[in-house]
Structure formats: C-alpha cells, structure tokens
C-alpha cells in the first residue's frame, strides 16, 4: 500500500515537471503582457476615438477574465491538478455571480431613490 502511495506521488511530481517548463512560463508571460497592452490600446487610443462606446467596459472585463484564467490555470497550476480540486475551488467562486446580480439590482434601486 505504501509503495502505491509513493508511486502516485512520483507520478504527480513527474506531471508537475511536464506542466511548466521555462519555455512555457515565458510564453504565458508574453501572453499576459500582450493582453495588458491591448487594454492600454483600448484605453488610450480607441476609447478616445469613440467616447462612451458601450462595448469598451465589457471588453475590459473579458480581457481581465482572460488574464485571470492564464494566471490561475498556468501560474497557479490549477490546470494540471486533479479535476476534483479544480472543481472544489472554481464552483464556490461562481457564487460571486449571485452577489454581482443582487448588488446590480440594489444599485438600480439607489438611482431610483436619488431621482425621487
């Protein structure tokens, strides 16, 4: 039984080695930097040409979530962990959507209060 545990650990460590090599780390770094540059381009160039465009804030949020995915999946290594662990972390995070919906609704109500 104990040898079996050791095997599992050895395999796990082997998977870690394959998960993040130096080359792959640098690739993720370039991706993160590129996404940040796109955000700057939107803020400094596009947003000035089309002030008040409705798609700009959603674009920022999509790019932010993309960066979050690369950090959590590769830097924090969650992509290479057991699916059970990944689900135990990601599923509770979805509750945050509930808070966003509730407080968006609440802030609509606050605007209504001010207009009265």
């Amino acid at each position: 039984m104990s040898s079996e545990i050791k095997n599992v650990h050895a395999e796990g460590e082997h998977a870690d080695h394959e998960g993040m090599t130096k080359k792959r780390i640098l690739k993720i770094f370039y991706i993160l930097t590129a996404i940040t540059c796109v955000e700057f381009f939107i803020a400094l160039v596009i947003a000035r040409h089309y002030p008040g465009a409705l798609w700009i804030n959603p674009a920022y949020i999509v790019l932010t979530l993309l960066k979050a995915y690369f950090i959590v999946a590769f830097f924090m290594h969650l992509k290479f962990e057991k699916v059970g662990l990944a689900l135990a972390i990601i599923v509770p995070i979805l509750f945050i959507i509930g808070l966003i919906l509730v407080l968006t609704n609440e802030s609509h109500y606050w605007i209504g209060l001010r207009l009265q």
Partner: protein, 242 residues
Amino acid sequence: MSTAVTQHVDEVKSTPWSGGRSPFNVEYGKMMMWFFLLSDAFTFSSLLISYGAIRFSAAAWPSPSLVFQSVPGTSIEHGAPLVFVGIMTFILIASSVTMVLAVEAGHRNAKKEVITWMLFTILGGLMFLSCQALEWNHLHSEGFWWGHIPNAETMKEFFKAGTPLSQQALSSHQFANLFFTITGFHGFHVFSGVVINIIITINVLLGTYQKRGSYLMIEKVGLYWHFVDLVWVFVFTFFYLV
C-alpha cells in the same frame, strides 16, 4: 469464489476516494492554501462589487484618466494617464513570473536558482510597494484621503465640466474611501507576501528544504503570491480602466 470476492473488495479500496491517500493528490498544506485563497477571493470580490454598486449608482464619478494622469516621483504632472499604473502592473506580473521560475527550480532541487528567483520576486514586491507609496502620497498631496477630498478648485479638474459641486463632493468622498481601502487591502497582501517570501528564502538559505527533500513550501507561497497578482489584475481594471 472467496478469492474472487477478496479481489473485488481490494479493487474498490484502491479508488481515490476510498481513503488512505489524498483524493486530490496534493499535500495538506497546499490544499489549505487553496481554500484560504478561496476565502480571500470572496473578501476581495465583496469589496470590488460594493465599489461597483456605489459607482454605478453615483450621479457623477471622478474620471480615472484625469485622476491618474501623473507619474509620481517625476516632474510629469499631466497628460500621462495609465503610464505609472502600467509600470506597477508590469512589475507585479514580472515578479509573478520569477516566482514560477523559483517553483520550477524547486522541482529540480536547484537551491541556488531557487534563491536567485526568490530574491528577484522579493525585489519586485518591494518595487511595487514603493510605487504604491508614491501613488498614495501623490493623491494625498492633492487632498484625497480617507474621509478627505481636495478643495473645489482642484476637484473640478477630475470631473466633466458642469458637474454640480455637491455631486463632486459626494462622489469624491466615495472614491477616496473605496480607493484607499481596496488598494490598501491589496497592498497589505503584497506586504505580507514579501514578508513570507523573505522568511521562506531564509529557510532555503539555511537548507531547511534541502534536508526535507522537497521544495513544496515554495509552491505554497507561490500560490499566495500569484493570488496577489490576480487580485491586482481586477483592481487595475476596475479602478484605472473602467
């Protein structure tokens, strides 16, 4: 018959969830770090979502491209929006990269490389904190602080022309309190991260993990450090870009 049953029972016992080993195949401390970060993610999202709700319902809001258009520490006072925060973001992402490189060196038990990359990570953290101190000092010199706003003359530069003074005063108060609370809470996380990284680096220097035969502790502090970077990605978007 009886042997077949025994074999069958053994088979059942060897599944990941039948006990005797971690079903997630991670060490206890690392799993607990993940769950701590989950709780921290809830704290930060509560703060950021409250900020969103307050800003969304506000009649006016100080424009980020006008509030953050200087480069503190230099003579550039106007016309450089996002430049300083761009430097801060780059520093934090770079220090996250050096952290992964330390973890990767730890997998190879390369003590010297671990120390080098950890020192770079600590340096990045200290640089970020210095930038944040400059930024706070700059906003403070303009008159922003918890419960304090700039005088009417300075304040009107941050708003669209024609915004009533009462609206400017109200939303500047909200902006100041939320900005210092949220970036302060994040900065405190960076500070604790730097302290933890220093302690771990001293342990590496003393050879603690060499004796233990595993640099898993680097992975655990690495998770915390990446989380700090992750939170900054969101703070950056919602305070400086949106």
